[in-house]
Amino acid sequence: MTSQPLSLLTQDGTYQSQMALPLDPGSIDCAQLLRDMIMTRRVDSEAIALQRQGELGLWPSLLGQEAAQVGAAASLFPRDVVFPTYREHGVAWCRGVDPVNLLGLFRGTTMGGWDPTENNFNLYTLVIGAQTLHAVGYAMGIVRDGDVGTGDPERDRAVLVFLGDGALSEGETNEAFVWAAAQNLPVVFFCQNNQWAISAPYSVQSRVAVAQRAQGFGFKGIRVDGNDVLACLSATREAMAAARSGNGPTLIEAFTYRRNPHTTSDDDGRYRSGAENDVWESLDPIERLKNYLVGSNKIDQDFLSKVGAEEQELAEKLRAGCRALPNPAPDHPFRNTYAEMPKELEDQMIEHLSFVETGA
């Protein structure tokens, strides 16, 4: 019933072309993909360390999902719009969001952290599945703007929305599928099936593979190896091109594995075995791409040393940047709740500021 996820790279780094995953590997800057994946993993490991040191309240790790995120993000034009969950640190990195700003939400200095319009990368969404409908609405806006199916490669654009396997059980995700299909919207649903929604395995969510669900809604679903960055890139690029040209939505299932607990507060030893983790560690996405690039002489030790130095620089920047993130001013919530502050709220703000300043 469940088809094997499509892949282009074997774990030992052999490239095998696939009809369903058109790609000319020579046209792809694979070294850049590797660099993005390595940097993403470093953001993640530094954030975990910062959480352990008490600098962050929480961190949702993406370990093991770097290929899915970097591959998907590499398919985007700057004018495309992304709606993430709360684990898309790799997509944020590729979109140019300052990784220090990713930490603010988890440090408690902000509820957002970046200007969503600056990189067309929306704020993290913590309520599972809610962002799928925002993506649908944004795609409706693109249609009304007339920026779909014009054939002008500088104009057509689409929305890429991320979700996890758990989100497929949310009513809102299913409503988003209904709307996207009925209105043939320029939106691509990229589901990282990391197999675990905290402690709930995918078997709790569904009896069919993620990608198969699309068929019932009336659009294409494709299942790719989420640890294969080139497979993820090819599938997403095809789907985004279809969306931009007016051919409607696609659901991409990137089959992967969340190698760390759900967040730093989770204890995955209570619900899954370490043996499972070992299997997925042996399928590491960074190692896979590295095997391919080294094996085909596309990178050398110099390149890896250079990335290593960059990584080190990034780590230092993250540590210093995290500690330097400013606390919001006590009037911040009051001033940003409404466009124009109501009188009652202004009174409450004055009361609060007086308390903060004088303790009375």
Binding site: T110, M111, G112, D115, P116, T117, N122, L123, T125, V127, A130, T132, L133, H134, A135, V136, G137, Y138, A139, M140, G141, I142, V143, R144, D145, G171, E172, E175, A176, V178, W179, A182, H332, P333, R335, N336, T337, Y338, A339, E340, P342, K343, E344, L345
Partner: protein
Amino acid sequence: MTAQPSTMPIAHALNAGLRDAMESDDKVMLLGEDIGQLGGVFRVTDGLQKGFGDLRVVDAPLGEAGIVGSAIGLAMAGYRPVCEIQFDGFVFPAMNQITTQLAKYRHRSDGKISLPVVIRIPVGGGIGAIEHHSESPEAYFAHTAGLKVVTPSSPQEAYDMIRAAVRCDDPVIFLEPKRNYWLKGEVDLSRIPGPLEKASIVRPGEDLTLVAYGALLPVARKVADVCAEEGRNVEVIDLRSLSPIDDETILRSVERTGRLVVAHEASRSVGLGSEIASRVQDAIFHSLEAPVIRVTGYDTPYPASRLEEEWLPGLDRILDAIDRSFSY
């Protein structure tokens, strides 16, 4: 536009207001179930899809979360969506989008992103409806920071307030008193809408302040007429905005009258009446000649319609409350 006031019911005044809003701003869009060819189950959007096309007046699939969630996305893309929720009892599937997403986004984006979404909801009872078609959910929304909640009571208010709501940069829950959709009144179509958040004294008086809103306004006016025959001059305030509440208008009135009765259809506990009573005692305790009295629906589910006439606050229950205030 005409300078001559014309007579029309609230439903038509809302239609005219939406039409004006759509004509003056190309970014205004309507989303809802059955709002296109059918014109909405209450016909509020009658003819608008014909006039503005199906990209601007969108017949939604049956999914209230989808309606509000996609309106959020549209607002992020620079549009001003106006959602129609078909009945009060059907808004709850959209509550997640309203409370966790719509209401909070300005704060989450450090004030950078406005979500100018209007959610129109027909509310209240008194029409002999089956269950989930007679509810008054305003307190849920008024309790949620980041939302504005307003309700018009007359055709003129409906015409003015819907235009102001569409122009507002904050999300607005726009509650339409469904039993008065066909209540007629004069509408000046050339009027510039005033501020959304102001209460209005619709009948001045010096003996007691009666605060009501939405469908209870015509009842409150009748109450004042009856009281006038008995020599009591009741000042009637149309609250208009349930969040924020215009304290000033209420406080200045009660300072003069010393007595306050608040009437609403919604359940009593933790409702708008409780909030207003609290604010009044907090600000002008010594001006009060009697306790603030709430005349409301009860803390039960909305009853079967054969019981609704007595369950709803009507003329007699409000008059009785006024008697109690004076005999305190």
